[in-house]
């Protein structure tokens, strides 16, 4: 946004344009005016206004239509409607169409200045938010590059040398020394896996998930996910009970990523549940959605962690005993579920356990035939 805010006023009454220009000129704004909707829209490209005052009732294209065109041109422009017939309904309709505020005629200069100032602040905030979001994206991408080159390859080189040492020395060193080498290798291997998980989190791209969509049965997805976590749950003597309430319609999705999403949740349930605990996985169809509920009787999630658990790199306060955490599993899961037009929610009580609920829309009836 330039230092001097630019305001476009679209009104068919010359007297309104003149007085508005007069009112706003005092406040160090650059004011541009148009006598009708067409001219106003044409001026958008040229003047790049921060806000636009639009009269709702004009000959030619209506104020409502102009609002739509402004939105389509640049959604960050803040539109305000001027309404001569100050009815609540037209103002409400305009707000629904994206107007930020409305100015009922007749208005005092102060009223107009106040609304203009608030709208300029709003525009500043919108632009700032966009800039911050872009910055965050760039950081994310740069971080990916740094992680992959600066950490992953030297770690790999260390591991490669350890492999070589292991084979070079295998005839010479004692079993105890061999054991030390193996432990070194296993720690490095964990680190490499962790880096790979981070890279995976950063590279989850919703559009590429959508490319691999096909018709799926949720029961297959659940079965594969449970197979994946079973070695771990068996080791901890945790029962995983699965209930699939058939019939359940097919869904459309990407099987590999959906299995990954469920593995992350069920795997977490195993991590955060005590030896001998219970996990239940339930699937059913309700209101044209497939509902999957994963419930454990583990340690639960503290209330202040709960709002953040789906964020990238967030690691909660409770550390599971002897388990590795990356802080990205649930963030990946959420992105995958959202790529399937679904949603994920969690409820938890510390000391009692957690319940994750996933909703995914079923394949439409028309598509089945």
């Amino acid at each position: 946004m330039d230092t001097i805010p630019k305001i476009l006023i679209i009104d068919d009454e010359e007297i309104v344009l003149d007085s508005c220009t007069h009112i706003l000129a005092k406040s160090d704004y650059k004011v541009v005016t148009a006598r009708n909707g067409e001219d106003g829209i044409a001026l958008l490209e040229q003047t790049k206004p921060d806000l636009v005052f639009v009269d709702l009732k004009m000959p030619g294209i209506s104020g409502m239509e102009v609002l739509g065109k402004i939105q389509a041109h640049d959604a960050t422009i803040v539109p305000i409607v001027i309404t001569g017939f100050a009815t609540v309904s037209s103002a409400v309709e305009a707000m629904k169409k994206g107007a930020y505020d409305f100015l009922p005629k007749p208005f005092t200069p102060d009223e107009m200045r106040l609304i203009a100032r608030r709208a300029i602040d709003k525009r500043k905030l919108v632009l700032e938010t966009i800039a911050l979001r872009r910055e965050k994206e760039m950081l994310r991408e740069q971080f990916a590059a740094i992680v992959s080159h600066e950490i992953k390859s030297p770690l790999g080189a260390v591991q490669q040398s350890l492999f070589a040492l292991d084979s070079d020395l295998s005839d010479i060193i004692s079993d105890e020394q061999k054991n030390k080498l193996k432990r070194l290798q296993s720690r490095i291997s964990d680190l490499i896996k962790l880096v790979n998980t981070w890279l995976r989190a950063i590279s989850v791209d919703i559009s590429s998930i959508r490319e691999g969509f096909s018709t799926l049965l949720i029961s297959n997805v659940i079965m594969k996910a449970i197979e994946n976590v079973e070695p771990h749950s068996v080791r901890k003597d945790i029962q995983i009970e699965t209930t699939v309430k058939e019939p359940i319609s097919a869904i459309i999705g990407n099987e590999v990523t959906l299995v990954e999403a469920l593995v992350n949740i069920i795997g977490n349930a195993v991590k955060y549940t005590y030896m001998g605990g219970n996990i239940s996985v339930c699937a059913e169809e309700r209101d044209n959605k497939v509902l999957v509920e994963i419930k454990d009787n583990g340690v639960g999630i503290p209330p202040d962690d709960l709002p953040h658990i789906f964020e990238d790199f967030y690691i909660g306060k409770i550390k599971p005993e002897g388990e590795r955490r990356s802080g990205v599993g649930l963030a990946i899961t959420k992105r995958i579920i959202e790529a399937h037009d679904g949603s994920i929610a969690v409820e938890s009580e510390p000391g009692k356990g957690s319940t994750f609920t996933i909703h995914i829309p079923v394949l439409k009836q028309i598509d089945k035939t």
Partner: protein, 139 residues
């Protein structure tokens, strides 16, 4: 195996040493080139049975250039190539629209860094056997 000659092209000396010592212990004769240019020259002058090629070298995927040159040379393209890379996931970005295992060459196989010794020896052995089988067919 003592007269089986392998060449490694990789710009990271730690990987070269690590991979080389595993292969030498298995009684292969191993040479190394630390950049694509030396690699191509070595390939042309020496008579190698198999190439281990790193993809991410120099200012980017210079290993791909080496693979392309090999593919254009009627004699070299018969040689099996084992591609070794640290960037399986980014491969799709290098070769848009292709699966993660790009068939750069008719005979290539792909291993991810760091390379597990047993897996390395297994792949090298199977590629060499496959190539020997093809030679017999041709004869």
């Amino acid at each position: 195996m003592a007269n089986t000659k392998l060449l490694i092209i990789d710009d990271d000396p730690d990987y070269v040493d690590g991979i080389k010592s595993i292969l030498e212990k298995a009684k292969y004769q191993v040479d190394a080139a630390y950049n694509p240019k030396d690699g191509i020259e070595a390939l042309k002058s020496g008579n190698y049975d198999l190439l281990l090629l790193d993809i991410m070298m120099g200012r980017g995927a210079e290993g791909v250039m080496v693979a392309r040159k090999i593919n254009k040379d009627p004699k070299l393209r018969e040689m099996p190539v084992l591609i070794i890379t640290g960037i399986r996931e980014q491969m799709a970005f290098l070769f848009p629209g292709q699966p993660a295992h790009p068939r750069l060459l008719p005979t290539d196989e792909l291993l991810e860094k760091p390379v597990d010794p047993d897996l390395l020896l297994e792949k090298v052995d199977s590629l060499l056997k496959e190539a020997a089988g093809k030679k017999e067919e041709g004869a």
